[in-house]
Amino acid sequence: MTDERGTDPHKPGPHDPDNRGHFGPYGGRFMPEALIGALDELSAEYDKARLDPEFTDEFTRLLRDYAGRPSLLTEAPRFAEHAGGARVFLKREDLNHTGSHKINNVLGQALLTKRMGKKRVIAETGAGQHGVATATACALMGLECVVYMGEVDTERQALNVARMKLLGAEVIPVKSGSRTLKDAINEALRDWVTNVDTTHYLLGTAAGGHPFPVMVRNFHKVIGAEARAQFLELTGRLPDVVTACVGGGSNAIGIFHGFIDDPEVRLVGIEPGGKGIETGEHGATLSEGTPGMLHGALSYLLQDEDGQTIEAYSISAGLDYPGVGPEHAWLKDTARAEYRSVTDDEAMHAFRLLSRTEGIIPAIESAHALAGALKLGQELGPEGHILVNLSGRGDKDMDTAAKYFGFYEDGGADGPRGTEES
């Protein structure tokens, strides 16, 4: 699979980290020695696989025949009326099998798991999207699958727990710490250190110890490669801005990389501002955090002055992570990408707006990028061209949305922002 410039997304290139996984000062391996052997094995296997046509062709075939790629590029003109008249285009990762971009990475890592001869896969999940995608890939490839999920999240996302179980995965509720995503990762790492001989840890975002950030990124580069070619074909030009939501940062890094060598294209990551930065209840790691290590890499981190991790908050269960992938830290410091935040309310406004203007229900994660696009459109004006990564669909979020907008209340009131959008 090559993009229209002939670049193979799997081949080593100038944007790769050094051989120990450093993007500038970030990344690396802040991991127990007991796991270094497994990370070395994974690195070695991945370095071989990314150059092996047998692997890359099989990956591309699965993306096409199983995940449904390429995903569409859809212009959103009625939505764009609210974005200062700029043209807005959506990269439709929501149309992939399992409903989000997550499938790209899990298919790649599941193939690698088989290459390594491992039979058992563990994963963490917050909202359940990565857990469902992992359970899906494991069902497809006949791998045993165990998903760690914070107890709080298993209650909030009961439907996804049922989906994972139906797909044959074991779901283990994590009762330690804050009982959310961060602790699910801790527990998965504890499992991995105990069972590393037989088990692959299928990490769900472009974070963690080397080689996860570069490997997960490369599996998602297909998003940006497709989008760039589609955008050129549709408009005859490149977008002014590419925007995506950033929790751990995998969908953003995937689409950003399609444009990283186009200096005229701005890359804007949108973080969860939660109840407002000033309340302290947010997940805006790059905007508000400081450098530190969590789950194996040096990156930005929400932490207190003693280096204790601070819990992130977002209405979106897929974005409430106090860390972020190390390459985003480097893109921030080098100013190749910009990061800003939108609040829960702004994201939910965009969530409903896209539903009512375009008939597309986005994931609340992706609605953060849409809210960012509304502001970027105002800044750019009518000449602006904005590409939004619509990283997932919103079916999983209906309960949250129904509560937020008051749809369960008597008479089906229309919630905190009850005006007609369009």
Binding site: R20, I36, G37, D197
Partner: protein, 264 residues
């Protein structure tokens, strides 16, 4: 010359293993942790590992996770670590610190080393820092005369063991099993093999941790290692107060003296 060298010279001369006991600072409260650590030393710990309670302890099992949460909820702050170490040292005890790396990174690696050294600490055990990422710690520990205790694991290759021991001073921490901290009925047979593989690369003392909880296990481990490291079992016994940790230290101290030492 590491700060811990005289300790191991003494235990080697006595033909026995050293006993190293772990307790998180601030558990259950800062003053109580000082009393517990002093009790452990009085009753036979040659060295204590003062743990830094941390929000995301991925190498720890449920017992130490819960202790860290208790300490943090009780208001533990990083500055309390230094006063704890100081209090242990003032009572004649020897202490190293065991900490995940982010609190040190956040505090400033050189500042942390400086303040730990000033408090009388002898070194740091670093469960999630490998020598490959430790350039600033090597510099700071050298500047402030602290020992660098890195870990080796049953999964470590010969190459990694060689690299790790070359960066270490004081002693090398060998993790007995593949897994997290916590008392176990049996210390894995992996431990003895790991110690013997590690000895091929270094003359540094080797301590074995993860899973030891009884005098009999301590004797078994002391037969092939230079030090026996006990953590979760002390944390569990801390529920009974100073008496609990003293009783365990007495039992373990007898254990490390029972083994026919292979050392010397």
């Amino acid at each position: 010359m590491g700060r811990l060298d005289p300790l191991f010279e003494r235990t080697r001369a006595e033909g026995r293993g050293a006993l190293i006991g772990y307790l998180p600072a601030g558990f259950p409260t800062v003053p109580e942790s000082v009393e517990l650590l002093r009790g452990m030393i009085d009753a036979g710990c040659d060295l204590v590992e003062v743990g830094v309670p941390y929000s995301d302890p991925v190498m720890d099992g449920p017992v130490i996770q819960a202790a860290a949460e208790t300490a943090l909820r009780a208001g533990f702050r990083l500055r309390d670590l230094f006063t704890t170490v100081e209090a242990v040292a003032a009572a004649g005890g020897q202490a190293v610190v065991m900490t995940y790396w982010n609190p040190v990174h956040r505090y400033g690696v050189d500042a942390f080393a400086r303040d730990l050294s000033a408090a009388g600490g002898l070194g740091i055990i670093t469960p999630d820092l490998i020598p490959d990422e430790a350039a600033d710690w090597v510099e700071a520990s050298t500047a402030h005369g602290l020992d660098r205790i890195f870990l080796v694991a049953p999964s470590s290759s010969e190459e990694r063991i060689a690299l790790t021991v070359a960066a270490s001073s004081g002693f090398v921490y060998a993790t007995a099993v593949m897994g997290v901290t916590g008392a176990r009925d049996q210390v894995g047979s992996l431990a003895e093999g790991l110690v013997s593989r590690t000895r091929a690369h270094t003359s540094l003392p080797i301590g074995v941790g993860l899973g030891v909880r009884s005098g009999a296990q301590a004797a078994e481990v002391a037969a092939f290692a230079d030090a026996v490291i006990v953590g979760s079992a002390f944390v569990t016994r801390a529920a009974e107060g100073v008496t609990g940790v003293r009783d365990l230290a007495v039992e373990l101290a007898a254990g490390v003296r029972k083994a026919p030492s292979t050392i010397g």
